[in-house]
């Protein structure tokens, strides 16, 4: 395991008022691998992603990107580093077409005007390289299916030569065939050398594409394991009680609060 992590989260704490949402959280993302980030509702997955992508400032700890500690204080900073986040349902602007969406916030210009021709060609090239041919570049995002929306959002990461792509439940609202398509795309991103973080509640998805699993439990990192070294039910235990066998946050008499079931 000589490969250096592309993105390293070390000892991150985050509180909202009196509520501590993240406690000493660690996560490693390696290039060319899919790291699944799993945890129950409220475990802190989304908060962690927002801390990495610069939406929330972190209270303590470090984010290390490509070996050097970085401060990410806005989504623009994250994008500049090459961290792209694909949000579940907030990814696209319905009224804008595919090209506009892919370039939103980073438009190409000639003079003061938008350079539509260049943007259209770059978008076309990117989609073609991902074998996406079912959509027309100028159709508004509102007319896309769920799978197509995720595909476009992911294609954005490719377009911008991102190095880390974080996908927030990309298959949550998709049917079987579309899920398979998106997962294939996720795998292809990793095979191209990107570090991919896949947030998912779906164990089938996790085991289908991930190389590693980071499990969060009540705001703490329960375990970072290789997917091949654990079973389905072990991961479920990590998610629901924070440990399995000798892996994870072993129970001590103080840690039983909040275990009353799924929220």
């Amino acid at each position: 395991m000589a490969v250096r992590p592309l993105l390293e989260v070390r000892g991150v704490d985050k509180s909202f008022g009196a509520v501590q949402v993240l406690r000493d959280v660690a996560m490693n993302v390696f290039p060319g691998e899919v790291t699944a980030l799993v945890g129950d509702n409220g475990a802190g997955k989304s908060t962690l992603v927002k801390c990495i992508s610069g939406i929330y400032p972190i209270d303590a700890g470090q984010v290390v990107f490509d070996g050097r500690p970085v401060t990410v204080s806005s989504p623009k900073d994250a994008a500049a580093l090459g961290i792209e986040v694909v949000y579940q349902d907030l990814a696209l602007c319905d009224n804008l077409d595919i090209v506009s969406n892919m370039f939103l916030g980073r438009e190409k210009r000639s003079g003061i005007a938008l350079d539509e021709a260049t943007m259209e060609q770059m978008a076309h090239r990117t989609l073609a390289s991902l074998s996406v041919r079912s959509v027309s570049l100028r159709q508004p995002a509102a007319s896309l299916s769920g799978g197509e929306r995720q595909t476009i959002a992911i294609a954005k990461a490719v377009l911008w030569n991102s190095r880390v792509v974080i996908l927030d439940e990309p298959t949550a609202a998709l049917g079987v065939a579309q899920t398979a398509q998106v997962l294939e795309l996720v795998r292809r991103l990793a095979d191209n050398g990107l570090g991919v973080v896949l947030i998912s509640h779906n164990m089938n998805d996790v085991f289908a594409v991930s190389d590693r699993i980071t499990a969060l439990y009540l705001g703490r990192t329960a375990a970072q394991v290789r997917t091949s070294e654990v079973t389905h039910s072990q991961v479920v235990e990590l998610i629901t009680v924070g440990y399995t066998g000798s892996i994870g946050l072993l129970p001590d008499p103080g840690s039983y609060e909040g275990m009353g079931g799924r929220s």
């Binding site: 623009k76 994008a79 907030l90 319905d94 009224n95 506009s100 260049t118 509102a142």
Partner: protein
């Protein structure tokens, strides 16, 4: 060919890149509400032409119509931007009054009828309009007060302050440079005020449809959180959009001064609603994310043409309100049907057909 090959792209992919986009421009154009509302306008013009002939279809009639909508067209440019962000600006009429009072005071204090004095007044009007707009925008974007409430408040405050400043009596000392500009000047055969409005409309259209500023305006109205997530400074942009609306109200104040030779303190109480109606008739969605300056101009022409036409064919002008109200409601109904269709995953259908289809 102006292809920029991004790093890491194989040159052979350019072959793929040259493939034409599959949706034709014409088809996209046909899906715009502003295009079919233009058809409605042409129908109205045709109907009046058949009824009144040359009397309606004369240059002088259309010159009069364009003069009547010049001020509203300028206001409509700002309003289109605001409504596309899914906001609203009810204060434009009052801000126009306030700005015209400030401008008239400044010009009266400087004294004289020259363009120098008028120039001071123009600066004062636009500056006060921008100030109101920035205030509106700040309260909407930073204080998170709904735009309807903020601008309802500033509607009241701006008008109130204008009345305080003048004691409620209109100021009539407008420099001759300004009033002559309206009365005598023609640019390329177009009367001066409509010409100014046309320039503003064209610039507004370019900014909205061809620049980053315009693109972000659509993005915010379409998906504000999404726009934030890609790093757009939404608050700053909203403030700028409301400031633009204020600036247009300031410029509108100058045009109104030139047109009437006096401030119009009591005359702008329905301006905001008329402009909003025009913007919405023109296909700009009150839900945000959609609209065009072209549509707004068409939307302005419909009530103006109806009014002029009714007068010429001898129908009481009161019917104008009835007709405009009907067009407004119909336009929003069609807009909603199209959105519902889009949400169902269909590409936007022909709205005229959709009108019949959604009846079930």
């Amino acid at each position: 060919m102006s292809v920029i090959t991004p790093p890491g792209q194989a040159p052979d992919q350019q072959v793929v890149a040259d493939a034409p986009p599959s949706d034709s421009y014409l088809k996209r154009l046909g899906n715009l509400q502003s295009v079919w509302i233009l058809g409605v306008l042409l129908l109205i013009i045709l109907a009046f032409s058949l009824a009144a002939g040359d009397k309606f279809l004369s240059t002088s009639n259309f010159s009069l119509i364009s003069q009547n909508i010049a001020v509203w067209a300028v206001l409509g440019v700002g309003m289109t931007f605001v409504i596309i962000t899914s906001g609203i600006d009810l204060s434009i009429g009052s801000v126009l009054v306030f700005s015209s009072v400030v401008a008239a005071k400044v010009m009266a204090a400087s004294g004289g009828d020259s363009w120098g004095v008028a120039g001071l007044g123009i600066l004062a009007a636009i500056a006060s309009g921008v100030a109101w707009g920035v205030l509106n925008g700040f309260l909407v974007a930073k204080a998170k007060i709904p735009a309807l409430i903020v601008t309802l408040g500033s509607l009241s405050i701006a008008l109130g302050l204008a009345q305080v400043l003048t004691g409620g009596i209109d100021i009539r000392s407008v420099p001759e440079a300004l009033t002559d500009f309206n009365t005598y000047v023609r640019i390329l055969g177009v009367p001066a005020l409509p010409f100014v409005a046309l320039v503003v409309v064209v610039i507004g259209g370019i900014v909205l449809h061809k620049t980053k500023f315009g693109r972000y305006t659509y993005a915010i109205g379409s998906n504000e959180l999404g726009a934030r997530r890609v790093g757009i400074n939404v608050d700053r942009h909203l403030i700028m959009v409301y400031a633009l609306s204020g600036a247009m109200a300031g410029l509108g104040a100058v045009l109104a001064l030139a047109q009437f030779g006096t401030t119009t303190i009591a005359g702008q109480s329905l301006t905001n609603l008329n402009v909003i109606a025009a913007v919405v008739i023109g296909g700009t969605s009150i839900f945000g994310g959609q609209g065009s300056i072209f549509g707004t101009v068409v939307g302005l022409f419909i009530p103006a043409v109806l009014q002029a036409g009714f007068v010429i064919i001898g129908v009481e002008a009161f019917w104008q309100g009835v007709a405009v109200g009907t067009v407004l409601v119909a336009a929003v109904y069609v807009d909603q049907s199209r959105r519902a269709a889009a949400l169902r995953g269909a590409s936007a259908p022909n709205p005229l057909l959709a009108m019949f289809r959604t009846r079930k």
